[in-house]
């Protein structure tokens, strides 16, 4: 991003050497500063601060209380203790992690494979790209309902097709061991298009000359993929991992439509726990769930962001 920001300014700086590196004339500086008033921050700032920042900060306080919206009672860390003690709530925590890791892992692998496939010489490339991407734009609730029907244990299209092939499909959403994974698979189906499009952008930016040189040196397609595509598509990988982790950790719609956290609470995630506790009127506990989710997201995404970007700088 830095080069994009800097590029037009540098070009001008070369033309007119009297300018400072920031691209302002020294004399006109005061007048031009007035052209960018802080007042422009005001309308957006008011909305953002009252409806996002204040609630986020207030969450830390209310998570320590028993709360009815009108009245609160300070109870210390009881809510968090309950979160770690009750099996149903703890399950939500581990499920969230499993879900986020499984979906982002699969999106990275499938996204890269699809991107390589869709940049190679095959017929109807543009159409196929659109086809992979379209589910990203479709209503999550609609996708959830459709796949609930397709994954029906006995009559669903998936299992009836599998039985034609002689495979006995699992009960998907109604099987406690499969429920979370089934939803994760649907999430990958819906979201892999975005990963693919990001990877296509990355793969296309790799100069053809590298491949030609490698070919001359006798590298096969697999070696080319391993030694050229994979390392040079790294920025795209970083993006896909970060984006799908953020999405995966706060996932709610799909789980709520397809299983409602069930059977039992085997496919509950933190976001669905938050909703259930809210519905039950335990606002303090629900807010504690929000704080747990906040801490989880920061603890995973921030270090990862820092680590992956640092590695990139070293390359």
């Amino acid at each position: 991003m830095t080069t994009t920001l800097g590029a037009p300014e540098n070009r001008r700086a070369r033309k007119q050497p009297t300018r400072t590196s920031r691209g302002r004339t020294r004399a006109g500086s005061a007048a031009i500063k007035g052209a960018y008033p802080f007042g422009f921050y005001l309308p957006a700032g008011v909305v953002y601060v009252t409806l996002f920042l204040v609630p986020t900060l207030a969450a830390f306080f209310f998570s320590l209380t028993r709360w009815t919206l009108f009245d609160y009672e300070f109870i210390g860390l009881d809510n968090f203790e309950q979160f770690l003690r009750e099996a149903a709530l703890l399950k939500g925590l581990t499920n969230t992690l499993i879900y986020a890791v499984v979906t982002s892992g699969m999106k990275v692998v499938l996204g890269l494979l699809l991107a390589v496939l869709l940049t190679s010489q095959i017929i109807g490339r543009g159409f196929l790209r659109s086809l992979v991407f379209f589910p990203v734009l479709v209503s999550t609730i609609g996708v959830g309902i459709t796949f609930t029907a397709l994954m029906h244990p006995s009559e669903g299209l998936i299992n009836s097709s599998l039985s034609v092939l002689g495979v006995d499909g699992p009960a998907w959403l109604t099987d406690p061991t499969w429920a979370l994974l089934s939803v994760a698979l649907v999430d990958v189906w819906k979201g892999v298009g975005l990963a693919t499009v990001i990877y296509i952008a990355g793969v296309v930016s790799i100069p053809r000359e590298y491949y030609e040189a490698a070919e001359v040196d006798g590298a096969g397609p697999l070696a080319q993929f391993r030694n050229i595509t994979l390392p040079l598509a790294r920025p795209a990988t970083v993006t896909v991992i970060i984006l799908s982790l953020i999405g995966g950790l706060r996932t709610f719609d799909l789980i709520w439509t397809m299983t409602g956290g069930g059977p039992g609470f085997t496919s509950d995630v933190i976001a669905s726990v938050i909703y259930k506790q809210y519905q039950a009127g335990f606002y303090g506990l629900s807010t504690a769930g929000n704080v747990v989710l906040f801490l989880l997201v920061s603890a995973i995404v921030v270090p990862l962001f820092w680590f992956l970007n640092r590695k990139e700088a070293e390359l």
């Binding site: 001008r12 052209a35 909305v47 095959i122 209503s139 029907a149 952008a201």
Partner: protein
Amino acid sequence: MSESRRAASAAVLPSARPRQRVRRPNYTLSALVAVAFLVVFVIPFAFIALTAFKGQQEAAQLEFSLPGDWQIVENFQAVLETGDYILIIAFINSVILTVASVTFMVVLGAMVAFVLQRRTSRTTGPISFLVLSGLIIPPAVVPTIWVLQELSLFKTLFGLILVEVAFHLPFCVLLFRAFIATVPRDLDESAVIDGAGPIRLFFRVIFPLLRPVTVTVIVVQSVAVFNDFVNPLYFLPGEENATVQQTLFNFQSQFESQYNLLFMDILLITIPPLIMFLFFNRQIVAGMTSGAIKG
């Protein structure tokens, strides 16, 4: 990261395809890929349409087959009439929500991005940090309800509009900021010398130049707000002001044995994003990849 970002916009333009030596397409691979894509990505959508056109008993079998008797019009009418035309009310609500919140996002987001990009000062760092946090932090639900209640905006469409604006602003700011960086500062200077104040400078000179990115923001955010399920669920509960995603979710339990009507509803709700996709495919991909790579 700049390299991949530039590539992102390149991938979007068909003219900017990678330079490749002319090779014969791989026919076997093409056929395999076509079949795989057909099974994985076409059949689910075909299933939605076919089920939506079937009669009730036929649809309940969940089979992938052509309808025995086509009940397109009957199902369409039946879905609309359900619950005193709740779907039409929901469509109106969703349209108001989408149009209003996206309008606010565009204007407010562009204003923030303009000052943020142009004016380098001590505040730039903290504000960029706030924008990034807005992208990463999951919103706290009940405290937001509490704030809305204090402002007596809870359970109002206007309250939900403001919530959508607050949650989607950071992404808009990032998209606008990257684009404004490509608009020469000389323009600002000449406008100021010609006597334009900041409001005129921004709305008359800069904002019209942001058209390409404005289209991207509008399209991407409209799809996001239209498809949003969680925020209306929390901040605008109640049958009478349901959005389309809400009605679809409610129909799931209501139409347990009427899969034809349920899928007709899915079909209807998929049409607006489909239209957006057909017309603005390029902008959507541009917005999602460029914003993504920075995020």
